[in-house]
Amino acid sequence: MTATPATTATQTSGEPILSVRHLVKEFPIYSSGILRRRIGAVHAVSDISFDLHPGETLGLVGESGCGKTTTSRALLHLQPATSGEVLFEGRDVTKLPKRRLRALRRDLQLVFQDPYASLNPRISVHEIIAEPLKIHGLYGDGGRRAVADLMRRVGLNPEHGNRFPHEFSGGQRQRIGIARALALKPRVLVLDEPVSALDVSIQAGVINLLEDLQDELGLAYLFVAHDLSVVRHIADRVAVMYLGKIVEIGPSDELFERPLHPYTQALISAIPIADPRRERERERIIVRGDVPSPANPPSGCRFRTRCQKFATLSEADAERCVTQEPGLVDRGLGAAHPAACHYAETLRVL
């Protein structure tokens, strides 16, 4: 992929707050034995690029092992990228010295998936939320009040600040995690599966909270999730990942109503809808097999081994999928809606 991918600016024509360019993350595989030579690599993220604009929500979806969590970790430099750039307001996160990186993390915060594992069980909720303020030397005199405000802001009772994480339910813990992420007034929140550990009735409250916070504080979200229904609800734009690559990116409604890539089409059609009448009428695309190993991805298009479209192509056409990797470029189908498929075409699956 040499050409800069067609990044989109749907609602914002201004500068992106976060730009990812040709991001690659590989995990080496070593041989067993004494020498432990490097014999290969797991290509977790293979050359992805996208932009995030101020105040927007970009949904990053895909199945387990597609590299979405690795991407979110690489953005914050929690796991250094193998190559590529992550530009936050023009500065490359991957090349910053440690001291500068800490300053940058004020603007770029992460909310974790598991509200049980991501909170220290031995310190009180007040201390958990105050911790980032203290680390950055901002606690001072007003710290106590700032923490109480944050708790109120995320729908928790500030009087419960001296309680410990185990005294809260899953939804309330996730709110604590959000309050902690908001403490430094960041401008970008990376949310890694923030609601997938919660029951539906609780999940809805946390989604509403995230929407409110975005409206009030103008935050940009990178919302990583495997639940497409949640992503459709919250995201302005959606990027679909498969085996370390973005296969399709576009405005949310456009992508769900007119998906171009066969994988996106299969993914959307596989999701059950909570409406028995609609479920009975739906045609389901069932893709065969399982996701190939990222240590040894297929040549050409990575989805071709499972692709329902590939199976229908003539031998000459199919050859192209095997030898030539499709770029994530505009296919002249829909506005600002690039797809990485040689034979992309619109298919309504909802």
Partner: protein, 398 residues
Amino acid sequence: MNGTPRFSSTPTPSSAVGQPVLAVQKLTVDFPTPDGVVQAVRGVSYQLAPGEVLGIVGESGSGKSVTSLAVMGLLPRTARVSGSVRFRGQELIGLSDKQLAAVRGRKIAMIFQDPMTSLNPVYKIGYQLAEAVLAHNDVGRDAARRRAVELLELVGIPFPEKRIDQYPHEFSGGMRQRVVIAIAMANDPDVIIADEPTTALDVTVQAQVLESLRAAQAETGAAMVLITHDLGVVAGQADRVLVMYAGKPVEIGLVDDIYHAPQMPYTLGLLGSLPRLDVRSRNRLTPIQGAPPSLMNLPPGCPFTPRCPLAQSLCEAREPDLLPVAGESHFAACHYSERLRGHPDPAELFAQTADDTHLPVEFGARRAAEAGPAPSDVATMEGALDRGDAEDGEEEIL
């Protein structure tokens, strides 16, 4: 769906026309703990007609899994089980392990959530399949092996003759779950209980497994109890749905009635809090305020009262029974379910209680008895107004 036949959509009122294959009556399960007794299941009754699919939905801790473990007699000895579970008239509660062994796997089969833990990692797939066949049939090893290959083929595993000599770790998650399904159908059971069969799987794999499950059901003609927290999966698979809350069924009915005309506020609330894939909407979701109650020392009255927008003083005093609401196949446990008739919009109903700016009720605590927002509760009032605006927003069903 997709051309595959759906099984026995004939309504099955509880005054069952034919003989039910499985009849559960007033099943309760208590777990004594040092802190008190946990009432995990507090009186579950349902009947399963031959060939029917009953979906059991509920959130974590609602007792849906414990109910099925009790049916199979798989609970630990510390559990106190009472009530009745009849399989074709034969009482299962109180049977010894030896007596139950004739039923388990042969008449009632179970599929668990995690296929890695329900398969034995040190035995080949073929051995484990043949084991299920040999346990209940007087056939030779060769016949059992032939049956094993046939079963793998039925659930859609490619190259079954080759795969049969592999170990579970050589299979992917979805493949393993299909092996578990193959084992469950090995003896042509009359009832298959599937406990969250697709929860650990990715969506495209979930679609494959659901297809295998349908194939298994078509092949055996078994009735199925499908336990899941995913309201989407149930919508596509079940004929009837049972909704559980705090260890009790709160609503049971035909799948269309439950989704399109729920008669219990909890069911309505669940549907309202679910983001929909097929709805283009910037509307807010309507969560249910608070959290499910602790099953230890439940107060009297309806356990949903602290979270319920319809709650009155009667709800705190007396727990409602599961009574017929509309037609003979639809039952709900709510004193005021008639107020839900013609009130399909959860957003409106849950508006006053669901708002986020409202301070959450303490975990497990009960809401103060006073009805209506206190005058000082400005945040709540604002929230209600916000929601009013949102309702006017666009909502387009594709």
